[in-house]
């Protein structure tokens, strides 16, 4: 694998929801450290594509390669989700309700076989990255939406992934929190050097930290000009 090997390559991917095709013959590449914004209306298949990349969903046809290795070949998972080394920030956080913030991160570190003696330091570092130091003993039920999202981010960063999938990360947050989380994401991305596939239906804020943007519409990916008016709100057409 060379430095120019794409972090993610999708070739001829096809997926249907029931009898309704979401996309067919979809191709996509993501370079190391690249931040790609993917825009599309609700239900256009953005989240399904992310889930397929993560191995949480199989494809009807096509292949997905991660760092040059075949990960998904149509309906077959060549690499199981837990071995893909992907960070995934779910919409709303999807935090484990029975674990504290510290317990959540410790669980991930254990899964990643990080030696126990390193746990404390790594947890402190992760919480510092997402500006949640002092939240170790809190449970998801006692976190605000923005805090939960940042714990989700810390969890996604736990194993220092080379590919980060962001599924509507700003969804439920108010404007101030959106900007602060975007700033966090940008600085962490630059610091840790992960590639990012960032899915949203409202690209206005995210456009400023992305390197490239695509629109998924009618099952086809079309390039978007980050500076152009195309990134104006999709609001009228949404939902």
């Amino acid at each position: 694998m060379t430095n120019s090997t794409p972090v993610l390559r999708i070739e001829g991917a096809a997926l249907a929801f029931g009898s309704q095709p979401l996309f067919t013959g979809l191709n996509l590449e993501l370079a190391p450290a690249e931040h790609l914004l993917m825009v599309g209306r609700s239900g256009c298949g953005k989240t399904s594509l992310l889930r397929a990349i993560a191995g949480l969903q199989r494809l009807d046809a096509g292949r997905i390669s991660l760092h040059g290795s075949l990960a998904t070949d149509a309906g077959t998972l060549a690499i199981s989700p837990e071995r893909r080394g992907i960070g995934y920030l779910f919409q709303g956080g999807a935090l484990w309700p029975h674990l504290t913030v510290e317990g959540t991160l410790r669980f991930c570190l254990k899964c990643g076989r990080v030696p126990r003696k390193e746990h404390q330091g790594r947890i402190a570092e992760l919480l510092e990255w997402v500006e949640l130091s002092g939240f170790e003993k809190r449970r998801p039920g006692s976190l605000s939406g923005g805090e939960a999202q940042r714990v989700g981010l810390a969890r996604a960063l736990c194993m220092r992934p080379k590919l980060m999938l962001l599924d509507e990360p700003l969804g439920p947050l108010d404007a101030e929190l959106r900007y602060s989380l975007l700033d966090r994401l940008e600085s962490l991305r630059d610091q840790l050097g992960f590639a990012t596939l960032h899915v949203t239906h409202d690209p206005r804020e995210a456009a400023r930290i992305a390197h490239r943007a695509l629109r998924l519409e009618g099952g086809v990916l079309q390039p978007l000009d980050l500076e152009g008016s195309e990134l104006s709100p999709l609001q009228p057409a949404i939902r």
Binding site: L56, R58, E82, F90, W96, C111
Partner: protein, 513 residues
């Protein structure tokens, strides 16, 4: 989902839960099948369906208002009333019959329907109660603004009906499979024959060993058909679902209606709990000419004679409940999360079969299956009752836990997978902990049902040396004080884990998510 774990669990399920039924099918001959065309047995089945419908109606009539009062209103002691309302489920229905036939002269169908209705009204109360709690306060507020109090009350009902009907459907299935209560209640007056009598009578026909198996099929089909809509409703989230931003519904102030409400609740509890338990105490006391010494003596002799049986019962029930819950977690999870939905549905229906089949069929099937050369070490040992009870009752755990898994956000597992957690770690460290209330409910339910399992246990070695079987032996011989004391001990033992959990755990027992 861990494939080895799932395959192991499916294997165990197939052997323990389905094996005893499957192994009986080869007994069936074409002549046995021909008996299915007999109009007499269809008449019996029709009458039995009538019985089930009547029992469901009583269960709804008592259970629905009871659930409403104890969950949504300011009726005094609502929490305690609600707790007491579950007790009839932990008492054998025959105890209820023995009590009620002493007090009133309702025999035949009306008496049977009333007694079984009282025994199973908690199913409706538990299901509907949970649904009442799950009415979103915001919906009610919207209805209140639009149409006042009445609209507010009515707005939640469409959410409660499916749950109440699900409870009634369960009551129906229990009722149509019972033959001891109709038989006991109609021992005076015209005999009220039910379909289960036909099955039992056919066991006696040794020339046609397949006949009883064939006769059981319509009842199994009826039970499965009744429960399928319940599963469907549950899948659609109709039994208990919470939208994001959910707000607890407000407690309704009854005002002057508080008095009738508490009278109603106490009347239901008197009929279904206080009367049978009181009667047992009265008998343990030695009836009219009893003394405290009689009571003490009754408990002493119950302990003395049945100590070993009671210990065995508790041991079997504990291990069976643990094994069934373990199996329920793995299979319940598989039902909800398996990639091919149809497979999940098939598994769910298969899970119904052990409880849909008559206990005698299951018991004899277990004997046929395990009594063979090479397996005598297991067959004759204490492992056998555990195998039997786990096989027969694991279905409850599977259904409770599949419901619980359905209510769990799948992304919790997905995020764990992406964090590098393998399937077993996900199941036990991510899925199981949030479901602890459901796990505890399934454990306590299987435990209680294993303690009172009579019809299947009676046939199987070791399983027939249990406290409940001693009770029924005793009932026959009219040793009233001792039997009453032992019955009370058994009811108490059935309730113990649930009581323990309620007292010491902050999580509640969740039969429904």
């Amino acid at each position: 989902m861990s494939r080895p774990l799932l395959i192991l669990a499916l294997g165990v399920f197939a052997v323990l839960c389905l094996g005893p039924l499957g192994i009986m099918l080869p007994r069936v001959t074409p002549a046995d099948l021909a008996s299915l065309g007999d109009s007499r047995t269809w008449n019996l089945l029709g009458r039995t369906i009538g019985l089930g419908a009547g029992v469901s109606a009583i269960a709804l009539l008592l259970g629905l208002p009871f659930a409403f009062f104890v969950t949504r209103t300011d009726v005094p002691g609502a929490g305690l009333l609600r707790l007491l309302g579950v007790i009839p489920l932990f008492m054998p229905a025959l105890l209820m019959a023995m009590t009620w036939t002493v007090f009133v002269d309702w025999r035949g169908a009306p008496g049977t329907i009333w007694i079984l209705g009282l025994s199973y009204f908690p199913l409706v109360a538990v299901f509907a109660g949970r649904a009442f709690e799950r009415i979103d306060g915001r919906l009610e507020d919207a209805a209140l603004l639009a149409g006042g109090r009445w609209a507010q009350l009515r707005s939640g009902l469409p959410l409660v009906y499916p749950a109440a009907l699900a409870g009634a459907a369960l009551a129906f299935t229990f009722a149509v499979n019972d033959f001891a209560v109709p038989d006991y209640v109609s021992s005076v007056g015209p005999k009220f024959n039910v379909y289960a009598d036909e099955i039992f009578a056919n066991w006696n026909n040794w020339k046609r060993p397949g006949l009883a198996v064939v006769t059981a099929l319509p009842l199994i089909a009826l039970t499965v058909c009744t429960l399928l809509p319940v599963l469907r409703l549950r899948r659609r989230g109709a039994l208990a679902s919470i939208a994001s931003g959910f707000r607890d519904p407000e407690t309704l102030k009854l005002g002057v209606w508080r008095f009738p409400a508490i009278v109603f609740c106490l009347a239901v509890l008197s009929a279904s709990v206080f009367l049978p338990l009181g009667r047992l105490f009265y008998e343990a006391w030695g009836a009219a000419d009893g003394t405290l010494d009689t009571l003490r003596g009754a408990f002493a002799s119950a302990f003395d004679l049945a100590r070993d049986d009671l210990a065995r019962s508790l041991r079997f029930a504990t291990i069976a409940a643990t094994a069934a819950t373990f199996l329920g977690l793995v299979l319940g999870h598989a039902i909800e999360r398996v990639r091919r939905r149809r497979l999940g549905t098939v598994l769910e229906i298969a899970a119904l079969l052990p409880i849909a089949a008559p206990a005698t069929l299951f018991g004899i099937g277990a004997i046929v299956m395990w009594s063979r050369p090479g397996l005598s070490g297991i067959y004759a040992s204490e492992a056998m009752p555990v195998i039997l009870f786990t096989g027969r009752l694991a279905a409850f755990a599977v259904l409770i836990l599949s419901g619980a898994v359905a209510s769990l956000d799948v992304r919790l597992e997905e995020s764990a997978a992406l964090a590098g957690a393998g399937p077993i770690k996900r199941l036990f460290q991510i899925v199981a902990p949030p479901l602890v209330g459901a796990l505890a409910a399934s454990w306590t339910l299987v435990f209680a049902f294993a303690l009172r399992e009579l019809d299947a246990g009676i046939l199987v070695p070791e399983a027939n040396r249990t406290a409940i079987i001693r009770v029924f032996n005793g009932v026959h011989f009219g040793r009233d004080e001792y039997v009453a004391a032992l019955s009370l001990l058994l009811v108490f033992a059935s309730l113990l884990p649930a009581l323990f959990w309620i007292c010491f755990s902050r999580k509640r027992l969740e039969v429904l998510p």
